[in-house]
Symmetry: C2
Subunit: 157 residues, 2 copies
DNA sequence: GCTAATCTCTCGAACATCGAGACAATCCAC
DNA sequence: GTGGATTGTCTCGATGTTCGAGAGATTAGC
């Protein structure tokens, strides 16, 4: 019985963590006069930049699950406040690549980078073996969640 | 160096987990023709019910961070589709208590209860000791996140 | 070249959220 | 009790975000 209680609490811990992490994004948004979608978009663009690529308008729409009309409005907003730049792709001039401004990059780095630094510092209290266990656990839980999220894997054509 | 890489990946795992869990909520919303806020509200009401209490309109507004005008619209929506009931509190008739309908309770239970069940099943692969480590880790990370989220603890009056 | 496909943008409508303020019920001091 | 302040919810009008439909520009296939 004690075990079940622990596991339920563990599930609650997962949820609490997501809630708090969500609140961090919310706080960043308020701090910079953005809404939730804008932050998600900036994060997506930043992640792409970190991977060495740059997102197109369409790719951003997929990343944040928005239709093209909304992406246009979204990029308009972010461009207006100077967080993003539109750059016509010279190879395929239908495409618009999105690039973060240096100031936005710096602001994001300061906010989320600081959090990341603190998280990694807090990990120092754990042995490599323990961290390995945690990683395995998180991966397993994420897999379960992903399986729930995907539409039922029904029969193939 | 290897350690740092592991830790960075661990931080990414945390983020990925929140993203996927968020997507679960999104999926539930789409499945039931709701928006994100509606789902958050239903979860809040459901949590309260599970604790044996019932939320008032004001408390719900605090829980999902919405002004009273928006809460009214929100509850209107949820009441219109039959997920919520408004119940005037007989002791303080200014208050409106919110109660979930049985169908909404059942739908939520099936969806999120099923996820919870699968999560807990997946936890069977871990020893009590390992689960304890994970719980400690998650608590520590959440604490770090919460600390980031709160406005700087500046000087006292 | 011509046609189909792809990518982004424009336009108008639908909807969520908000601030200000109205309205009703309760609490408190007297 | 009675009057005024407080509390809790709702109404109204304005603002901002999202979407569907479709236009415009560019590229790919033949």
């Amino acid at each position: 019985m004690g075990r079940d209680v622990d596991r339920q609490e563990l599930a609650l811990l997962l949820r609490r963590l997501t809630v708090e992490l969500d609140a961090v994004g919310q706080r960043f948004a308020e701090l910079h006069g953005l809404n939730r979608t804008d932050v998600r978009a900036l994060v997506a663009v930043m992640d792409a930049a970190r991977r060495g690529t740059s997102l197109t308008a369409g790719a951003l729409g997929e990343a944040v699950d928005l239709r093209s009309a909304s992406v246009t409005a979204l990029v308009d907003r972010l461009e207006r406040v100077g967080h993003l730049r539109r750059v016509r792709n010279p190879e395929d001039r239908r495409r618009v690549s999105l690039e973060m401004s240096d100031t936005a990059m710096a602001a994001g780095g300061e906010f989320f980078g600081g959090l990341q630094r603190d998280l990694m510092a807090a990990m120092s209290d754990y042995s490599d073996e323990e961290l390995e266990t945690v990683a395995r656990f998180l991966t397993a839980m994420t897999d379960v969640i992903v399986r729930h999220q995907r539409p039922e894997p029904t029969a193939r054509p």
